[in-house]
Symmetry: C2
Amino acid sequence: MNHITSDGLQQSPASTQAPEPGKVTTGPIWGSRKVYSSPEKHPDIRVPFREIALDPSAKEPPLRLYDTSGPYTDTEIAIDVANGLPKIRTEWLTRRGFAKATPRTVRPEDNGGATGDRLVAPCPAPHAVLEGGDATCVTQYEFARAGIITEEMIYVAHRENLGRLKAAEGAAVRRKDGEDFGAAIPEFVTPEFVRDEIARGRAIIPANINHPELEPVIIGRNFLVKVNANIGNSAVTSSAAEEVEKLVWSIRWGADTVMDLSTGRNIHNIRDWILRNAPTPIGTVPLYQALEKVGGEVSKLSWEVFRDTLIEQAEQGVDYFTIHAGVRLAHVPLTAERVTGIVSRGGSIMASWCLMEHRESFLYEHFEDICDIMRKYDVSFSLGDGLRPGSVADANDAAQFAELETLGDLTKIAWAKGCQVMIEGPGHVPMHKIRENMDKQLRDCHEAPFYTLGPLTTDVAPGYDHITSAIGAAMIGWFGTAMLCYVTPKEHLGLPNREDVKVGVITYRISAHAADLAKGHPSARLRDDALSRARFSFRWEDQFKLSLDPDTARAYHDETMPKEAHKTAHFCSMCGPKFCSMRISQGIRDDAQRIAGMEQKSREFRDAGNKVYVPAE
Amino acid sequence: MNHITSDGLQQSPASTQAPEPGKVTTGPIWGSRKVYSSPEKHPDIRVPFREIALDPSAKEPPLRLYDTSGPYTDTEIAIDVANGLPKIRTEWLTRRGFAKATPRTVRPEDNGGATGDRLVAPCPAPHAVLEGGDATCVTQYEFARAGIITEEMIYVAHRENLGRLKAAEGAAVRRKDGEDFGAAIPEFVTPEFVRDEIARGRAIIPANINHPELEPVIIGRNFLVKVNANIGNSAVTSSAAEEVEKLVWSIRWGADTVMDLSTGRNIHNIRDWILRNAPTPIGTVPLYQALEKVGGEVSKLSWEVFRDTLIEQAEQGVDYFTIHAGVRLAHVPLTAERVTGIVSRGGSIMASWCLMEHRESFLYEHFEDICDIMRKYDVSFSLGDGLRPGSVADANDAAQFAELETLGDLTKIAWAKGCQVMIEGPGHVPMHKIRENMDKQLRDCHEAPFYTLGPLTTDVAPGYDHITSAIGAAMIGWFGTAMLCYVTPKEHLGLPNREDVKVGVITYRISAHAADLAKGHPSARLRDDALSRARFSFRWEDQFKLSLDPDTARAYHDETMPKEAHKTAHFCSMCGPKFCSMRISQGIRDDAQRIAGMEQKSREFRDAGNKVYVPAE
């Protein structure tokens, strides 16, 4: 698949094949180039976009797109994973006067005891660890509550405003067309609006003060719907670049954040490589590493080892932690009658610990301590849904909703401690039960952003669960979910390969965009309309460029019509020239627009009759 | 893809590769066998199902599934496309006393003037043409209105009742769980219910009296959501079997009906081969062939050539015709300002004709004549949406809705003439505008079944339009659409190949099933639950068998865990044994179910602690 006909146009150098050893995928996404734009009065803040120049016949200005891909698609930036990415936030953070910390000492168990040849070397990129223990404001939430607009807030406002900018950017602000279910989507996003949303707890900017390489992203119901991709280490890691490439590949196709779910050997060092090379927020589940540190024995898990892991990962720069503090001892029996029990890894570990110890969860009991640590580095909470349903049979049951209510209580505690919070959601939910999830989450969790996995709308299609879940994801995104965690075709069956990750990300970009359109985001339709105009004008190259996946669109077209001349053909392979409705319809439109009287129209159209029907080659 | 590890189990012989020349794909879908079941008191009516025997450890009866695949998956039936399929309806039709007609003589233009080597020979299977001109009741609608229950009605009632049958079939009737938006889905489908729904115009059984090979299917809001697949001839047809194979391949994966959209040479003879080998209803767009007969010149189209084509195809046995009679002269100017004009082939042809002639459409003017012809053979109407939107920008506009209102008027005329009717719908519609389509269609078209193409919920993902549209299809199916026309990954880009057709059909089965679940069809969840139980019990083989696409599910699993031992492993490749939530959760469940007191539970669980954590191999 995705074989690209060479045509002399600039193409992504490694869009389908894995990069050379030690390298990651670089170069622009086909048909676009990286541009930067600064908000008014903030020339030091440079927000990246992708710009697509259209065929001159279109007589349209270039179209700018939201760009998650980071410096990797910037031909001006030399990428070397050993150096890490430019640290664009360092100046902002320095101004905030955070103290340089004495970093925790790395211990053999942080890397799962890997030694010698099996040990992945630490990333040589420099990294000074900060902590904000003594500062009045450390987290974006604290700044927001104090009425202070941070650089990160200005950055995301400009990023979200794409297409909403007036004539200066050449794009018209659209009339509102959508149903937002009570959201408060602004016509224009100001930094003050961002601040206010964060202060209300309705949005977060996951941005650890130890992640200066970050291009800030906002996650909230009144902003564009975001997509998360999960990555994890391979059983046999041959190089750190290979692990970094998983991140690079995910964000190339549109992942806004990436969760590193690695387990086993070398996870500390690999996480370092990933963070130093990550322009997107990175999330983790610290419980996984804590369990590794005690040899995989749940009964040996303790607050102490968990606490140590939080600090370790926070110092590295992880932007958000999944914390399964809502799995309480009393909730576990509620899962006994389920068809698929507990399907969250973290949830099953904590449920198991609670039963073994017959004690309340240490995550729940130490929740305030966890807040104190996370606040110090501005690590955002992603309150885990350890009791999410694993089948449509278990959707919206007592266990799931009891946990959700607990997460609402914990949200208030985390806010009181100054932390940013989002809430994880299901899972497997049939369509008619999706809305209830969203409504209950908004109510019980006080409008903290919702971050769902799918949901899958049926259980009968292993191998196609990116699709079963894209349906649920689009719907729940429309209803108000702020971020969608992707699902790949391998879900429930195996480990996703390179192609699976790409398909998963593109699929979720579809769901997120369909949700943005339906919510009525002022500029969401610009790309659809540009692509539709290209389609109606038979500007094939423009159609490819404007696609979520230009390489695949082009390859599919070339499969049936490989010749270069076909790229300008005023028909396509499906119907051929004789049955091409768009071709016929263009004649109709040209005509109907030119003249008013139907009599004359009829005459002219008849005269032009032969133009509409040309012989097939 | 889809490489199947040989394991001695019965497998489909040609599930991924094209069959040998002159042959079509036969053999059971992996893990299932064909069974037949007869309604009480009707031993002569044999309704096919697929039955999946589960692993003995499941202690569950075999699960039966709705089966669209026809005799091709029955190992007892010898398939020879030259003979055609068994004519299961002949006796029923004979009893109705229809007259044998003198068939219309086939003319060279019926086959696009193909001669000599380029002419595909007619299908040798015997075919006696019937017509019901003089009979009181010919159509299912007429029988239903007269209070007569036909064999077809009994057949579909039994087919739809799968899983709703009481203890006799071993499946419990489920408590209602769904939101049906005012539909009237019965707990149990009786033939009388079917008759009543048809008499009200709320459902159709497309069943031409010249298609005795048909396994009847019902299309209506109160029945299971159906899926249509489109097929068409290749530019170079090497054999008739190759064209029949497209049908066989589509229904193997779950297409309930198939539309033959062929154009060009040999279409009459190929249609004959398809019909004599089609167990599903076959639909066509007669306008395409009519245009071929006049050399592709729209201005030469006339009622006479159209009428001749209707009779030609009706005699062959086509079960439903798309008739674009709603594209009226006055509607055409409404499309002038559209972003993508007219995107329906039939719509653009008729709009073009109206403008050229400056006359009302001959389809509209001769609508009653069309009814008279279609009634004679019981060809159902699929009233075409020639003005459907081709972009989200054009969704729900004046042109689209003006046509829909006209289709409502035509529905009443067709009913008055005794015909069965369904209504075609869009197209490209963002999520927030989908519901309006369904509600308006129900209202304006008097509850005649809706049959939509997707809709696509965004325009930005060429190459993935099976997914952009699966979202819209699931939603509109939930809201009440009776049949969903599939979209393949090649939509807008090229001709679908074998793999594309399969992916398109499976994707639409997902949408249809997600809709059935959400509507609360009494037995829809049986398959989900069986698969989820298999998942929770690590019955991998059962999971594959219960999947919509067993071959792909198995291949994906084998990619990461190829060994036979892994098919019984109590974990999978994603998390490994240490992090397997289902494994841990099973321990929790076993425990929680066995004992009541939490103290004791804790103690026992701790004792069993080592069982939950086994070392990885």
